[in-house]
């Protein structure tokens, strides 16, 4: 209707409508500007030797020095390479396991005893509301050298020296994946449980008439019906591939696992805030945008070939 008015109305009216339409989207444009574009001004820090006490105005302008430093030595490049490998590996592991909440939702939905289903759902959703700091405390009291697990194993005579779960470089990516799955599985399933209740019951009915058993219903009705939701969430998580956050890795990091736990966000934090090299950290964090743009272009090319449309 609005569009019709826009094309048919006279010029004055068109302008009035377009102004009010602009005002409707304006708050969101402002938000996008404030939170996505304004912070980019901070990039200018990368061109200075920024000292907080002096402010940007009085800090020394150093041009591209930090960027040169990042690419000048093989050791630097190798460190960044390791950080990128960690970032991408943990993101891909996250994406690779993104089907788990789907299966969890499907199976949970098949549980007939509603008290049990509700109990499971509540218990698996709860961890999502525990902050990473508390998760680490739980991890610490379970897995530290004098934690529950080591003490129990020791008391049973299975081990003589405590096993190092937290301060070891073994399987860091996998243990991190396990923790984030434990925390996020129940929460991730909520959306699919909602989607399941929205599936048209007539589909099940007709399938049953055709003689489908329970597993066939799950395989041929529920699962395909959840796919659109899944694909949308998958695309969103691919867009966030470099944003795997830092809280989890920050609380779990120590000298022993640092090499494999440092993701890009954590590396930037360690260099900038812990190491106090704010300008260098800014230069590093720009890397993220460069890679994101590269991924976007690649995704766009694939979409263009597959669907014939492009978003750019």
């Amino acid at each position: 209707m609005g569009l019709l008015q826009l094309t048919r109305g006279n010029r004055g009216e068109t302008r009035r409508v377009s102004v009010s339409a602009f005002l409707v989207v304006a708050p969101f444009l402002v938000l996008v500007f404030l939170f996505s574009y304004l912070p980019l001004l901070g990039w200018v820090t990368a061109l200075y030797d920024y000292k907080p006490a002096l402010g940007l105005g009085r800090s020394e302008f150093v041009g591209l020095q930090w960027f040169e430093m990042l690419v000048s030595s093989p050791t630097q490049l190798q460190q960044i390479g390791q950080v990128m490998a960690n970032t991408l590996a943990m993101s891909f592991l996250g994406i690779a396991t993104s089907l788990l909440p789907v299966f969890f939702a499907i199976f949970l939905n098949e549980v007939r005893a509603s008290w049990f289903r509700n109990a499971v759902q509540t218990l698996t959703t709860l961890p999502n509301f525990i902050s990473w700091v508390l998760v680490y405390m739980i991890a610490f009291s379970l897995f530290s050298t004098s934690g529950l697990v080591n003490t129990t194993l020791h008391d049973w005579g299975l081990i003589t020296i405590p096993m190092k779960f937290l301060d070891s470089d073994q399987h860091v990516w996998l243990t991190m994946l396990a923790w984030s799955l434990w925390k996020g599985l129940g929460w991730g399933a909520i959306m699919y449980l909602a989607a399941i209740s929205g599936i048209d019951p007539t589909l099940y009915e007709s399938a049953r008439i055709d003689g489908a058993n329970r597993f066939q219903l799950m395989r041929h009705i529920t699962f395909p019906q959840l796919m659109p939701t899944y694909v949308v969430l998958l695309l969103l998580s691919i867009a966030n591939i470099l944003n795997n956050g830092m809280e989890q890795y920050y609380v779990f990091q120590n000298a022993f696992n640092k090499e494999h736990i440092q993701v890009l966000d954590l590396y930037v934090y360690n260099v900038g805030i812990t190491g106090n090299s704010i300008s260098l950290a800014t230069a590093l964090s720009m890397l993220k945008s460069v890679i994101s743009v590269a991924l976007l272009v690649a995704a766009n090319a694939i979409a263009k070939r597959a669907r014939g449309t492009s978003i750019l």
């Binding site: 430093m69 050791t75 190491g275």
Partner: protein, 581 residues
């Protein structure tokens, strides 16, 4: 037109936010620059104290809080980066906001310089003129503000003792301290050098596998909270051979040797190897990798650790009156080849400084407060407790027949584990009321002009008489009759004093600083891995990896700077020794 207006309206707050960043707080109008008035009648205020040394965050309470309140009608709100954690985060966010605090305790050198340049510190020269106690230390004040247009900073730990004399009182800062009772059981074995400690520690740990609380005992327990340029616990053995750090360089107190810490034959790597071997022998607490200082401290308190590199760790945690009466406690077990590093008295003041923030509400009162910290009353009640501050006269000590001595209350409060302060002094436990500034304006071993005895009660003849106990007696008997740790070290030529030159390294160039921070992280990471390496081969390969990474990051450039700084420091030490020594 309208659209443009709408955009302009929308942009206004955005631009407003932007320009806010450019604002800095303007200083208040100065009307009166004399600090000489009765502040107890002034308007009550609360001042923010940014204190790089404080280990407590919040309002200062107890007897010291009341003393300050009574004299200045002022409450101290302590802001402690040590408590907040996260390195320089708190400092950076506060300075970026343009207001670090009203009263400021920071390091001299880079921090002081940038605060002056950034306009965050107030020029206190108008107030300095009417100060009463600080002008006694005028050379130190002038030296500290040398090259600055005004007086922005006041030195801490000033002293009139010679710079070639140790500043540390009866206990050195560093030293090998063992559980003396277990060492005695082992038959007082002689320790030739650092590595000889290992078999002795093993014997002690084997004889006492658990502490009184039933938890396992370990010879060594480590922590990571203070790791900076290097793993802090691995630097300590180097101090027993006369070295202290200057960036990545270990410099000997007398300027006779400079080492890069990552060289395979450096004292630092030697210490890492020492810990590695200790760990192979099962002497290192496996919780070392994850625990913090507080956890470790409580282990010392309950007797679960047998070795301490610092008297202020082992002794202060475990040598309670009760334990010492039972003959238990940490005492110095000398290594024959040791040459313990000792900080000389700083004629020009210690590492930290006092300053007044440019946004302070009542700078005159803060100046008066700072001045008071240098008065006999101020030193007694505010100096750091671990250095032997006696507390306020009349409460914890009194002068009897011309000699200061701890009162009955003082004995209970300071030496016997604590006592409650009478209500007229502010109430509460004595220990909770101690100054949380944790900084001494005047060195506590300096002489109090009012009593002609040192401020520190640990030097009073009356104190030395009262602390006799079986532990000290046994130790003294085996140490050739030495009364204190310091006496023993001095008599045996095992102390090497670095003259107090008050040298502060200049600010790093931007690139050097960035490389330094990256190398730091790598050194700390590899050090911990090396200590807990599973075998000799892994230890060596980690060392090689560390050296390779550090070199790749450009450590040469940083070492050059550190080496030059270490030499400049040595020159300053030599010249101050010549001038005052």
């Amino acid at each position: 037109m309208k659209t443009r207006k709408a955009i302009a309206l929308l942009m206004a707050p955005v631009l407003g936010t932007l320009s806010l960043g450019a604002c800095t707080a303007a200083g208040p109008e100065e009307t009166n620059t004399s600090i000489d008035q009765d502040w107890s009648q002034a308007e009550p205020i609360t001042v923010d104290v940014y204190d790089g040394l404080a280990n407590y965050m919040g309002i200062q309470g107890g007897w010291f809080g009341k003393l300050v309140k009574d004299k200045f009608n002022m409450e101290l709100n302590i802001i402690a980066p040590n408590v907040a954690g996260g390195g320089d985060t708190l400092y950076n966010t506060r300075v970026a906001g343009g207001d670090l605090g009203d009263l400021i305790v920071v390091d001299k050198g880079q921090q002081l310089d940038e605060l002056v340049e950034g306009g965050l510190l107030l020029d206190a020269s108008p107030y300095y003129e009417s100060m009463e106690f600080l002008p006694d230390y005028d050379p130190a004040v002038q030296k500290l503000n040398d090259g600055k247009e005004g007086i922005y900073a006041f030195p801490t730990q000033v002293s009139s003792i010679k710079p070639t004399e140790s500043s540390e009182g009866v206990d050195p800062t560093f030293g090998p301290f063992l559980r003396w009772d277990y060492y005695a059981e082992a038959g007082y074995p002689e320790i030739g050098t650092l590595e000889d400690l290992l078999p002795v520690l093993a014997t002690m740990q084997d004889a006492h596998p658990t502490a009184d609380n039933g938890k396992p005992t370990y010879a060594i327990s480590l922590f990571k909270d203070w790791d900076g340029n290097m793993m802090v616990t691995a630097k300590q053995p180097a101090t027993l051979y006369g070295y202290d750090e200057m960036g990545f360089v270990l410099a000997k107190a007398d300027g006779s040797d400079y080492q890069s810490i990552i060289d395979s034959d450096s004292e630092y790597v030697r210490a890492l190897r020492f810990y590695f071997e200790a760990n192979q022998m099962g002497l290192v607490d496996p919780e070392s990798t994850t625990q913090n200082y507080d956890t470790m401290f409580s282990k010392y308190q309950s007797g679960q650790v047998l070795l301490s590199w610092w008297p202020w760790l082992g002794q202060s945690a475990y040598n309670t009156e009760q334990n010492m009466a039972a003959g238990k406690g940490f005492e110095l077990v000398p290594m024959q080849d040791q040459e313990i590093f000792s900080y000389g008295a700083e004629v020009y003041g210690g590492k930290q400084i006092f300053g007044i923030g440019s946004g302070a509400e009542d700078p005159a009162r803060l100046a008066a407060f700072i001045d008071w910290l240098y008065s006999p009353e101020g030193v007694n009640s505010s100096a750091s407790e671990t250095m032997g501050a006696a507390g306020p006269e009349g409460l914890t000590w009194e002068v009897v027949e011309g000699e200061p001595q701890l009162s009955e209350f003082g004995n209970k409060a300071i030496l016997q584990g604590g006592a409650d302060v009478p209500a007229e002094w502010g109430g509460g436990a004595y220990k909770d009321g101690v100054s949380t500034l944790n900084v001494s304006a005047v060195l506590p071993i300096d002489v109090n002009p009012e009593t002609d005895f040192p401020y520190s009660y640990k030097y009073w003849p009356s104190y030395l008489e009262t602390v006799a106990n079986p532990l000290k007696e046994d130790w003294s008997e085996h140490m050739g009759g030495a009364a204190t740790t310091m006496d023993y070290l001095k008599d045996n030529g095992q102390l090497i004093v670095a003259p107090g030159s008050s040298y502060a390294a200049p600010t790093d160039e931007a690139e050097v600083e960035a490389i330094r921070n990256q190398v730091k992280a790598s050194i700390v990471e590899h050090s911990w891995k090396m200590v807990f390496a599973k075998d000799e081969a892994e230890f060596e390969s980690l060392l090689a990896a560390l050296q390779e990474t550090a070199e790749g990051l450009g450590v040469e450039q940083v070492l050059e700077v550190d080496m030059a700084n270490a030499k400049a420091q040595n020159e300053a030490r030599e010249s101050v020794a010549k001038e005052f020594g």
